[in-house]
């Protein structure tokens, strides 16, 4: 995908097997099957997968919190075990937990200190970060008084405090409301503009579409596919659409393939491949189309097809169409 100097993360033959040593139930569970992955520098990579797919395991191995069973990981050209490399990496866990009696300002000062910031430089950086995550006014309150969204923003702040070149995030928008989603997205887009490499796990597929340059699908511990988001966009013919018609006389629909649904629901579902042909047919019949809307996001469609669950997509689409 890229040359070594342009690679922020290089994973080779990485696998992880959990050994459960409960005396009553000893078993091995393969969380990750051997996988190779390159994440280019200065780009955003979104890793998507179902619950239990192995996404968090992968991030923890990348951070050195778990040891791989086989394989190797190279982060920013070195080992994550090195202090120098860790000083260039930020981490945002899913639902970060902080000591509840500390304030956001104290926490950020502490984490900044661990990154080697001192004195006025540390104070200035804490203020800068508090402004970015919009927590200046609440920075003196104890974490116990924060909402879940505010705690998530402290999590983002601690990940940014050391000006990292690479940020690893595990479900960064978990627990956020729609405004919070938007704010986090803006922060990530700004980080991308400044050249920071982003790697994140998420369930929120629409965020991948809006933020990421690359998308990977991890399913049952297997990295099924890695693609550029722009390539996924080009596969939009695979999507399904809802075509909305209003006030159409029944006689005009005679012989039309979707006549029955259109008459009953005022519209019909059509696949991307058929869309242009169907629109042409409607135009030839003199029927005005009042709207065409996609029934899933492109990444969602890509994801479900990659894991072989197109049927779920069709089910969702039918349900949406009915509603």
């Amino acid at each position: 995908m890229t040359s070594p100097s342009e690679t922020a993360l290089r994973v080779r033959n990485l696998s992880k097997i959990y050994r459960h040593n409960n005396p009553f139930k000893r078993h091995r569970e393969a969380a990750l099957q051997p996988l190779d992955l390159d994440v280019p520098s200065h780009q955003a990579f979104g890793l998507i997968g179902l619950n239990g797919a192995g996404k968090t395991t992968l991030v923890k191995i990348l951070l050195g919190l778990l040891t791989p069973t086989t394989g190797s990981v190279e982060v920013l050209g070195g080992s994550i075990g090195s202090r120098v490399i860790r000083a260039r990496v930020g981490y945002l866990p899913e639902l970060p937990y902080f000591p509840r009696q500390m304030t956001a300002r104290e926490l950020l000062a502490y984490y900044g200190y661990l990154y080697g910031l001192r004195g006025k430089g540390l104070t200035a950086r804490v203020e800068e970060i508090l402004e970015i995550v919009r927590l200046q006014k609440a920075s003196g309150y104890r974490i116990a008084e924060y909402s879940k969204g505010m705690q998530q923003r402290v999590g983002i702040a601690q990940a940014l405090i050391g000006k990292p070149e690479l940020i690893l995030c595990d479900e960064p928008v978990t627990g956020l409301d729609p405004v919070g989603y938007r704010e986090v997205r803006e922060i990530f887009l700004e980080l991308k503009r400044t050249g920071t490499t982003l790697f994140f796990n998420t369930h929120v597929l629409s965020e991948v579409e809006k933020i990421c340059d690359w998308v990977g699908v991890l399913h049952e511990g297997v990295l099924r596919r890695v693609a550029r988001v722009s390539e996924v966009m080009a596969e939009k013919l695979e999507m399904d659409y809802w075509v909305e018609l209003t006030g159409v006389a029944a006689d005009r629909l005679q012989g039309f393939a979707h006549a029955e649904t259109a008459a009953r629901s005022g519209g019909f579902q059509v696949s991307g491949r058929e869309l242009s042909g169907v629109l042409g047919d409607l135009s030839a019949r003199g029927i005005t189309v009042s709207g065409v809307r996609p029934l899933s996001s492109l990444v969602e469609s890509f994801f479900l097809r990659t894991i072989g669950r197109e049927s779920d997509l069709m089910f969702t689409n039918r349900r949406e169409a009915r509603s």
């Binding site: 923890k60 951070l63 000083a87 937990y97 009696q101 500390m102 200190y113 661990l114 990154y115």
Partner: protein, 256 residues
Amino acid sequence: MSRVAAVAWFSFRELVRSKLLVVWLLAVGLLCGVAYLLAYLSYGEPLRIFMDLGLAGLEAAGLVVLLLELAVTYNTDMEQKAVFLQLTKPLTRGEYLLGRVVGFWMVNCLVLLGMTLFIGGFIAFHHGQYPLFWVAAALVMIQMFLLTTLGLAYQMIATSMVGTVLFTFFTSILGHTMSQIRWALERKPDPILRFLLNGTYYLLPNLEVFNLKDRLYDPTLTTAALPWGDIALYAFGYSFAAFLVGWWALEKREFH
């Protein structure tokens, strides 16, 4: 070293603000009050009763504070996973553990110092100077450093908060029975019991080294006569070994 100091200071503030410790400080106040009352009501030797109760209270307070620290931080660090955010920073696991040891001990010393000043001040006010009391209190603090290091080593090894607290508690209890264990070993018990007693005797710390309260009234004992070098060497050597075990366990630990 500055990162160790940062972790220590952070741990200190985190624990001092914990409501559990506030509750415990109130209990310590109550304990001192009871000691004072018993001494006041006793006939004959109020100094002895107050000093014995005070020193026993110091040890109990130090142990309970340590157990609370271990319980609180096991919950936040391991179960709530707050430790992830620290270990993924440019901080080695050894620095983290050492910072934790120092931070915990600072909190312990804060509580013990408050109690020591109260009890020592009371003794000085009513009965004149009694230097061996201050020495005994200092030895309790040194003992707490050893137990803190060991407790944190257990925390790195154990897979539950209960395990950490119980191991530390029983280590403290057994550590004060080393002369009895040696006595039992001299009686040549059966092989299984001998194996268990030997394991306890050689692996667990001998906390009697730090216990002066049974010897306070020995007329030959003076501050200068205490084997300070041996005591310091034992405390440092055992703590260092416990720290190495904890560090090794933390390096090997998988954070699921």
